[in-house]
Symmetry: C2
Subunit: 706 residues, 2 copies
Amino acid sequence: MANRLESLFSPESIAVVGASRSERKVGWEILHSLLAYRFRGRVYPVNPRAGSIHSIRAYPSVLDIPDPVELAVIVVPSAHVLQVVEEAGTKGIRALIVITSGFSEVGPKGRQLEEKLEGLVRKHGMVMVGPNCMGVINTHSRVQMDATFSPILPLRGNIAFMTQSGALGVAILQQARNRGVGLSKFVSLGNAADVSLHELIEYLEGDDQTDLILLYIESFGQPREFMPIARRVTKGKPILALKSGRTEAGRRAAASHTGALAGPDVGTQALFEQTGVLRANTIAELFDIGAAFSMQPLPQGRRVAVVTNGGGPGIMAMDAIVGVGMEPAVLSDKTTAYLRARIPEEASPVNPVDLIADADAKRYGLAVGAVLKDPNVDALLVISVPPIVEDEVAVARSIWRAAKKQSKPVVSTFLGRGEQSPGVTELVDHSVPTYLFPESAARALAAMRRYQEYLERDEGTYRRFRVRRKRARAIVETAVQERRTRLHEMEALELLRCYGFRIVRSRLVDNLPEAQAAAEEIGYPVAFKAVHPEILHKTDYGAVVLDIRTRQELDDHHRTLSLRLEKEGFEIKEWMVQEYARGGKETIMGMNLDEKFGPMLVFGLGGIYVEVLNDVVFRLTPLTDADALRMVRGIRSYPILEGVRGEPPSDVAGLAESLQRLSQLVQDFPEIEAVDINPYLVFEKGKGCKVVDARILLTPLERGAR
Amino acid sequence: MANRLESLFSPESIAVVGASRSERKVGWEILHSLLAYRFRGRVYPVNPRAGSIHSIRAYPSVLDIPDPVELAVIVVPSAHVLQVVEEAGTKGIRALIVITSGFSEVGPKGRQLEEKLEGLVRKHGMVMVGPNCMGVINTHSRVQMDATFSPILPLRGNIAFMTQSGALGVAILQQARNRGVGLSKFVSLGNAADVSLHELIEYLEGDDQTDLILLYIESFGQPREFMPIARRVTKGKPILALKSGRTEAGRRAAASHTGALAGPDVGTQALFEQTGVLRANTIAELFDIGAAFSMQPLPQGRRVAVVTNGGGPGIMAMDAIVGVGMEPAVLSDKTTAYLRARIPEEASPVNPVDLIADADAKRYGLAVGAVLKDPNVDALLVISVPPIVEDEVAVARSIWRAAKKQSKPVVSTFLGRGEQSPGVTELVDHSVPTYLFPESAARALAAMRRYQEYLERDEGTYRRFRVRRKRARAIVETAVQERRTRLHEMEALELLRCYGFRIVRSRLVDNLPEAQAAAEEIGYPVAFKAVHPEILHKTDYGAVVLDIRTRQELDDHHRTLSLRLEKEGFEIKEWMVQEYARGGKETIMGMNLDEKFGPMLVFGLGGIYVEVLNDVVFRLTPLTDADALRMVRGIRSYPILEGVRGEPPSDVAGLAESLQRLSQLVQDFPEIEAVDINPYLVFEKGKGCKVVDARILLTPLERGAR
C-alpha cells in the first residue's frame, strides 16, 4: 500500500481554495509559488468571485472542477474551512494543506473548531497538514511543488526541513537560499492536527531524495512515540533539531503560543541523547551544521588539521577546534617534510599549516592535498583571509578540487567575506561548506563527528530481570487501598529489595534499649536516624548521625537528638538503626514522572557539592543496558567513580544494572510517581551497591491510573 | 607636552617609502588607500626607480624630499629597512609605520634585526608601529588617514580597533564595513617593537573621537603593565577584547606564530575579570557587541522585553535572553492594558509581545514605544520575521523612531534577512544595531549590562596588614641559605602564622608515646599523619587518618599505618598529631608563579568533587579587598559557603582577608614560587579559618630572584 503522505508530497493535481486576485495576499502568493516553481501537474484556483486568477480559469468550488483533484491547499477564512473540507471530501480529494489560522492556537473556541476539522478529515480518510501552517514544498524534479506563501523559491537538495513555527518558515527558506543550501522537502507543521512530526519522520526515512532531516520544534506532541521512531531513523539518516522554549522564560512563551504544554528541557535533552538526534542551539547552527552534513562525508576520527594563510586565524581555528571537543591533528613527518620542501621558509608546515599571506591557488592546492592524504588527519578546515592578490576564485577552485580527491570532510572559512562573495560561491557550488568564521566550521565538524560516533555506538538491549513482582504488587496495593501517597520507610526498602536492590542492614526500633540491641546485632559502627512522618529529608533536620562507634556514643546521640527534635516540635517514636558502611561512595538514583515524557530516571553522585553544582543526568524509560551505562558515565564527576588519587574504581556496572532495575520497576508500576534512593552507596568494582534510604511516592487516586 | 603618538595618528605629511607603480603590490595599495581616503595632508611617494606614482612626483629617498615630513610608512624589503629608518631619523621624521615583515616573527636572525631597528628608533627619538603590521587608520575628519594596504575604506565612527594579527586586519575592516560599524582609529600592532598595546590604550583614553576600544590579542606583552592602565581606562570607556590562543592547542600555535610565550588562559581570564575588560569569544561576537556599545545606551538593569511579529522567534529570543543571564521583563498592567486595546485579539500583549504576522509599521511603533516606557523594562529586543506584506523599511523606521525617544537600549533582529537588506540598513543607519539572529542580540545586551554592572561595582582598596615580616624573612632566608626549595612542614605553618593565618594545633612527634601525649594535650578527636620527605600529597598515600576519638584508635592506626607505609618503602620517623576540627569546611588556597602574569592566587572548595569538577578561581596580585571577596564568591559551589540545607553560612570575610594576606606574603617574598594551603578550614561566619596543612616552595637559586 502506498504511503498516505504520497498525495501530500506528490499530487497529480492541486486546487488552491481561496486563491486570490490581489497580489500580496496569501491566496495569491500560494498560487504564484506553485506556478513560479513550475509545478509539474495541474493547478485549479478556487474562488467563488473570480473567473480567472493568474490567467488560469477559476472555479467557484472544488465540486465545480471537472477533473479529479488530489490535493487542496486551503486559505479561506477559518469560518469557511469546515465547508471547504467537507466539499473536498465529497470531491474525493486525498490530501489537504490548511494554511488558515484561528484554530487551537487562539484558545478554546479555536480548539473546538480544530476538533471538528480533525473529525471531517478522518471521516473522509484524508491526510492533512496544518491548520495554521505556511505550506509544503517538494523539490523533486518530477513534482516541483512549492505550496507555500514564501516569496523565496527553494533550491533543490538533500535536506528535508520540518518546522513547527510558520513565522520562522519564511526566514528558514530565505536563509537556506542565501547559503546555497538545497532542500528535498519542506513542511510547516502548524498545529499538526493530523500529520504529526513522527509520521513525517517515518516517511522521510524512506524518501530517497532526503539524506538529512532538519527540525525546528517548539513542543513535542508525543515524545514517547517519537522516541522509537527517531532511534531507528537516526541510524540511517541524521536528524538535526533546534528545540526552542528550553529555558523557563522561553517555556512560558511556548505554552501561551502553541497552546501545548512544553516539556522541561531535561526531557528533551534525554530524548535527543537516547535517540541520537543532534541538537542545534540556534538557527544559524542548524544551517552551519546542516550544510556540512549535506555536502561532506563524516569524519572517521577527531583529529582536525588547519590550512591557513594567516597566523591569527589559524590560532583562532585551533581554539575553536579544541573548544568543540575535537583534537588538533599532529601531521606525520612525511607530510611535514613534503610541505617544508614546497612552501616558503617563513611558512609553517605543522598544524596549523600557515601558507602565509601571499599563498596562491597552487600553494593551497598542494597543501590541502598533502594534509588530506595524511593518515593522522580525520578532517580539514581551510582558511583564507583576504590576500592582497585577490584571486579568491582560483584559491577556492584549488581547495575543492583537492578536497574532491579524498573521502575526508573539508570545511572552509573565507574570513571577512560575505555569503555572496565569488570564492564562497565557488566553494559552496562544489560542496565545500564555507563559514564566515572558523568557530562555525569547527562546530559543524564536531557535530558530524558526534553523529559518526553515534552510528558506531552500541544501542544495547532492553533487559528484563527476574523480580518478585507479586510481592511488590502487594506492597503497592496495600498503600493504594489505604489511600496513602507515600510508602512507609520499610515498605519502600522492601519494594526495592523485590526488584533486586540490596539494602543496608536496617532495624526500625521504638526506644533506646531496642536501638542498643539492634546496634549490637548489626555491629558497630552504625548510623542512627530519627523517623517521623513529617520529616521528609532527614539531613535537613539534622536527624541523622553517622559513624557511631560505641554504645556510649549511641546513648549520647539518642539523648541529644530526642531533646533537640522535641524542642523543634517532633516527638520521635521510631528510630532507624543501620549498618554504617565504610568505603562506599554516596550516589543518588531516582525517578520522577513527567507529564509529557513519562517516567524520567535521574542519577548523580550524592553530597551537597554535587547538588549545588547540579551534576545529574536524566534519561527516559525504557532504558537499554547501554543507555544505563552511558547515564552513569554522563555525570561530570564520573572520574570520581573511576577512582581518583589512587582510589579503587567503583562498581559502575552495578549502578548501571540498578538503573535498569529501577526502569523495570517504574514501568511495571505506573502508580509510582517518584522514587528517591538517597544515598545509594556504591562500593568497589564487583562489590555492588546498597540502598541506605529510599522514598517512594504514589500518584494520588483522584488523578487516576495512567 | 603633546603625546608622542600625535605624529603617528595626525601627521601633517606622509612619506610612503617603497611606494610601487605595480597595482596589487603593498607599496601601491598603501599609497592608493591614502589617496582614496583623501588624506588631508601631503603624501610623498619614495622609490629610487620611479619618477612618479599615482600621478604624484616620487623621490629616490626621504632625504630628497624638499619639505618636512612627519610620518613615514615603510614597505621596503627587510634588508633595506634599517637604512631607510636611519635616513628618516636624519630627515627629522617623527613617526614610522613599518609594514615590512621578516623580523622577530621569523626567528633569531629576524629578532636581531628587530633589536637594531628598535635601537635606531630610540636613537632618533621616533615613535614606531610595527614592524610586520598592516598599518594605521585615523578617520578624524581633519586627518582622514588610511595608511593600510586594506582595499576596504573605513567608515567613520566611535570605535578604536587594535589588532595584533595583521592577517585578521583586512578581515576586520571588511566586517566593520559590511556591518556598518564605524571606526575612529585602527592600528595593526605587528610585533609591537616600540608602540605597545597599553601605550595605545592610554592614548585612546584621552581621544575624544573614541568611545569604545576593541582589541584582538594573541599574546600579552606585559600583562602587569596592562593591568593598572586597563583598570583605569575601562571605568571611562569600555574595552572589548578577543584573546585567541586560549586553549592548549591554540597556545602552541600562538607560541610558534608570534614568537611570544602565550600565557595560559587562566591568567588572561583573571586579568580581564580584574580590569573590567569584556571578553568576546569570536570575531563575530566582537562586532555584535561592539555595534551595540557604539550605537546604544547601557541598560540600567537586566530585564529585557521582546517585541516580535512571530511566536517562534519570540520563544527563541526568550531562550537566548535567559541563556545569557538576562531576565525576561514582566510588563506592567498599564502597558499590557494599553497594548491589549490596540493590537489584534490573537496578538499577545505580554512579554514576548507578539504583534502577529501582519504587523505593520504603525503597530510596531506603538508597541515599541509603550514597552520602552514601561518602568519594568531595561532593554528591548525587536524582532521582525518576513511578513507577506514586505514593507520592512517602514517597519524599521517606526522602530528607530520609537527607540530614539528613550534612553534604553534597543537592539533588533530581522530574521532571515541579509546584512544589506533595506530594513537592516535603515536601522543601522539610525543607530539600532541589527542581528541576523536573536542570540547575537541577546549577547550584546548582556555584555552591555555586564559593563554597566562593572561601572557600578566597587573596585575596593589595597589593604596592607601588620605582619611579622622580620620573622618571616628569617624563615625564608634559612631555607635559601640551606639551598632548599621547600620549606619544612612546621616552617611553612610558621610563615603563614607570621602573616596572620591561624593554624590548627599541631605537634610533630617521633614515636607513639609522644603521639599519645600530644593527643591528650590537644584533646580528642585528633588527626594523625605520617610525615616523610618523599610524601608530598599525604592523602594520595593514605598517610592521613582523621577523627581519631580514643587512645585505642590512635594505637591501632599508628600500627597499621607504620606497617603499610613500610611495605611501600617509607620508613616513618615523624608523625603529625593535629586537632581534628569539626564543623569546618575544607577549602584550598594557594599561589603559583606564572612566568608571564606573576603571582597567581587560587581559591576553591576542597575535596575530590571540586577537584574533579575543577571549580577554582584564579586572580592576579595585588588583590584589592573587593577582588578578594569576588574571588571567593566566584566559585560555582559558592552556595555551599553561603549555607545550604539549613547549614550556617561560612566565614567568607575571613577567607577574603586570608587571600589578601596571602597576596601580601607573596608580594613581599618574590622567592616564593608556590603556596598550597590544603586543606584550609573555614568555620561559621565570624569564627575564622584554620590552616591544616601547607606546602611552600621557593624558586631554585640558579633561576635567581625576579
